[in-house]
């Protein structure tokens, strides 16, 4: 598999201010895209953590007499939870921002995604049938209660909600990361980047590990056209070592 680095020259049409705006939008979009590609799991974890923190903060704020803030947070959280009083936990006699089931779901999702981030996104995922098995208890508990066949307990809500939340992140996040890795070309390490010189390529620094292939791609100075000049180095086991500076060859 070749490692590619592309330099694309884009011609911005229109007046200079328009060109500047286009360039700004293009750069901002690329920066935002690159940031999300690198830190999507961290952003997701932060959002889940914020949600759980907000739900937990409601009774404490009420207890401290900050009802104005507490009330706003409580009613904002209605977007993600029905907040049924009899299904909720209470702290200092004040209802939490989310019911027991939703609090368990989001807490488990937060902890699961935090573990995923701390594992440097290397946590292996679970197969789909384990995911189904883990979300099934919540489905049964929730639907039987919804249709009035039985009334659940807080223990069951917490247990099934935790299983559901963990299953979702454990299944989805590694899958997302796998898809991202498969769909984006790997970037060559700086020390292995090649620089073209008079039609040839030379290796900057460092020693390439056995089996590594590196490719250099340069762009044509003519706008709109990208020309790929690929020079590949395949270093086989037993041939490791610094390149010969005279020949630029191993």
């Amino acid at each position: 598999m070749a490692i590619q680095q592309t330099n694309v020259t884009i011609n911005y049409a229109g007046s200079p201010p328009r060109q500047a705006l286009n360039r700004f939008m293009n750069n901002t979009g690329r920066l935002a895209g690159n940031f999300l590609m690198d830190y999507w799991a961290t952003v997701l974890t932060a959002m889940l953590g914020f949600l759980v923190f907000a739900a937990l903060s409601v009774p404490f704020l009420s207890y401290l007499g900050l009802d104005g803030i507490s009330k706003q947070i409580f009613f904002s959280l209605h977007a993600v939870c029905a907040q049924i009083p009899s299904h909720s936990f209470y702290v200092f006699g004040h209802q939490l921002g989310m019911c027991a089931r939703n609090l368990s779901i989001y807490s488990a999702m937060f902890l699961g995604s935090l573990i995923f981030v701390l594992s440097k996104k290397r946590l292996p995922g679970i197969p789909w049938w384990i995911w189904v098995l883990m979300i099934l208890p919540l489905a049964v508990d929730g639907t039987t209660q919804m249709f009035g066949l039985r009334e659940s307990t807080w223990e069951l809500r917490v247990l099934t909600g935790t299983l559901f939340g963990l299953a979702n992140v454990w299944f989805a996040l590694p899958l997302i990361q796998k898809t991202i890795l498969q769909s984006t070309p790997a970037q060559p390490h700086k020390s292995y980047q090649l620089q073209p010189s008079a039609g040839n390529a030379s290796i900057n620094t460092g020693t390439m590990p056995a089996g590594m292939i590196s490719t250099d791609v340069t762009s044509d100075p003519i706008e709109h056209n990208v020309v790929t000049n690929q020079v590949e180095f395949l270093i086989l086991p037993g041939q490791e070592g610094s390149p010969d500076p005279a020949t630029n060859r191993h």
């Binding site: 009330k71 409580f74 009613f75 209605h78 049924i84 009083p85 009899s86 209470y90 006699g93 004040h94």
Partner: protein
């Protein structure tokens, strides 16, 4: 000539507690209902009686209309209006 007798206003009991956000929302709805029909409201703070507190602590706000209809928890305005036979 005798005037037609108006129906007696509904007797409403509202169980609440200070610092309960859902209770504040329910009270606002009761005020909206008051603009549409008349009723007699009895507001009870559940902390005034240990027995009532135990009964309603995880259910408030609770609205009882004429000793029969009970609406509690997260109350929707249309449910409350229906209970007052406004819709």
């Amino acid at each position: 000539m005798t005037k037609a007798k108006e129906p007696a206003p509904a007797q409403v009991t509202f169980y609440t507690k200070a610092g309960c956000h859902l209770c504040e929302e329910a009270r606002d709805m009761l005020e909206d209902i008051a603009a549409l029909t008349t009723y007699e409201l009895t507001e009870i703070d559940i902390r005034s009686n240990p027995a009532i507190f135990e009964q309603y602590r995880y259910r408030i706000p609770v609205i009882i209309i004429n000793g029969e209809t009970i609406i509690e928890g997260r109350i929707e305005f249309q449910d409350l209006a229906r209970a007052f036979q406004l819709r």
